[in-house]
Symmetry: C2
Subunit: 401 residues, 2 copies
Amino acid sequence: MELSTPGPTVGVVGGGQLGRMLGEAAGPLGVEVVALDPTPDPPAAPVVRDTVTAAFDDADAVRELAERADVLTYEIELADPDLLAAASEETATPVHPAPGSLETTRDKLVEAEAVAEFAPVAAHRAVGSAADVRAAGEELGYPLMVKARRGGYDGRGNVPVEGPEDAADALAAATGHAGEIPEDAAMVEALVSFERELAVMGVRGADERAAFPVTETVHREQILRASATPARCPAPVREEARATALDVLEALEGRGVFGIELFHVPDADPERIAGEADEGATVLVNEIAPRPHNSGHWTIEGANCSQFEQHLRAVLGWPLGGTDARGATAVANLLADVEEPEPATLGGVEAVLGEPTASLHWYGKREARPLRKMGHLAVTGGEPAAALERARRLRDATTFR
Amino acid sequence: MELSTPGPTVGVVGGGQLGRMLGEAAGPLGVEVVALDPTPDPPAAPVVRDTVTAAFDDADAVRELAERADVLTYEIELADPDLLAAASEETATPVHPAPGSLETTRDKLVEAEAVAEFAPVAAHRAVGSAADVRAAGEELGYPLMVKARRGGYDGRGNVPVEGPEDAADALAAATGHAGEIPEDAAMVEALVSFERELAVMGVRGADERAAFPVTETVHREQILRASATPARCPAPVREEARATALDVLEALEGRGVFGIELFHVPDADPERIAGEADEGATVLVNEIAPRPHNSGHWTIEGANCSQFEQHLRAVLGWPLGGTDARGATAVANLLADVEEPEPATLGGVEAVLGEPTASLHWYGKREARPLRKMGHLAVTGGEPAAALERARRLRDATTFR
């Protein structure tokens, strides 16, 4: 295998923080990145070769990106699989992960059914009406989660249902449709109480599969706040989670990193679980992102090869990098705690910069919006619990003004 | 301390691999880099906000860079201290390290005399003629090293002298002047036999000083080939080297990272040593670069904060980062082993990418020239000697064709 100058160009649909961190990982490899984003001067801009300013569904722009690239990828699920496939076909530029992975993961019901062939998931049903929700409740029991099948992120579109009386309101809240809802708009899932939320970054390479060590994720209001790696659960649970993530990769197509979110459910009622599971399985697959994921940011400082470098290697068909953890790593998100949009300004940064084991990642977004991900910080070394505590303390020392 | 978007801009004179790695370190901090280089599309270009194409001594271009930047720095000693000072004064943009540090380090005699006030160096003399060289030989003994005071790098301009009969030829070879040489062109130094070559990256912050752990460097034909950190010498020697580096920082001005090269000379004749030394000192200062240095590349994977991030923090007046090593790290340079210039193509890359503990750094230079630094690889973990062995093995698996 040879490397020349200029190295290969990776065209990325999306120029947000994930595109920026792909750009940061590309430099050392001699890889160049061009990012397509509707926002002029998006977060990726200062660290990549070039940007294309266009809507994600602008067919001409996606084709232009494909023409300029040796391989096409995406860092946002708003990328359109049909457009990617068409641009790839017209230009003979491969797209990874395969558009089929995007098709699968952008519809939560399709995803659950695809995953269920290889790994355990919560029991689930398609629903088209409040009556369907109540029927599912009869069958699976309550609580349930009503989910919009498409377009949700950071928990948007997920509404819990405690009993039949909530069904109509929950369906309306999840889908945004007050009356009748489209046939393919919603699903319900058994809400299985979990002990911990876990995540594993899986990767499909040209002819190898790999999974990073298991991360414990901490959400509040369904938004990821912090993570600790390795996850603080018994080693057999971590092994089960990693093995489950490797199984999940079978349900996906093409090359790249996949963010796989899981629940540790030691006491789950087997009636509320579906899909392929070993006897006594205590880990359920929750959601999959066909791209690097917030819960894998620990890999930048914490693994031999970051999820971003790994994604570039995978989509280029290069050998995968080492996935081992270099020690404990905790990450805390810097979410804008503002009431309304305002220019992005983070105070208290000296606390983060002054901590010798901490690394700051500022995404370069111009506007702070309520709970928007503006950056993150990582803390390495020691025990995961102590690292997590330090990360939270440093996060709490920062303020958006 | 606050961070906004866009973050501060650092203007860098020089857009080679050091400028590129500064750009790679800038992204996570939200810092933007603009690099000035005479080569269009230099190595830094794909990873920085912008480049200015101009000669290093183009006063207008340096002033333009200063106008666009919040702080000015340089990654190459060809930067002109007078121009930097003038541009800084005209634009009120600070320049770091202070131009005085560049004045000091770009003349090896001035540097030796400045360092000697704080730390031990080899005994040395200014020379203006072969007779001066022979007089120094009488006084200090042989062997000596004749050095061009300015413009040498990678050992160019350094010529050893074994006895008085070599004096004239060595002086001519070192300076490029066949007959009479300019008064300030050359110096001689006692050539002190050393057990190991060491290097320490020192850093002057706004109101703190720091030094990274001690690296062992391996040169051949006076070009750095590989390094291992921590250096394989007794702990007291490492402590002496680090303390000596901190002393050297006193001889310098302004903020930034300084690459400090040292010799471990356990059996040196005290007559052949000059400068400020504790009794029984066994470490001599060899050379100083007022910038990140090849022997500090291990810090990217090996330290909590890389020398490049550290340099950015320092020149911006931010808190310094952690200097602790995260474990053993070895680096091997990828030097173009070509006979004459040709397009840059490195083969055997799969060996480096396939080693889980190795990281590749390809500098994106278009042309391979004999012994040009085209990239490096780093290997982490285990003992330094074993890491060095792995790094060399991986380097040897690559070939320029």
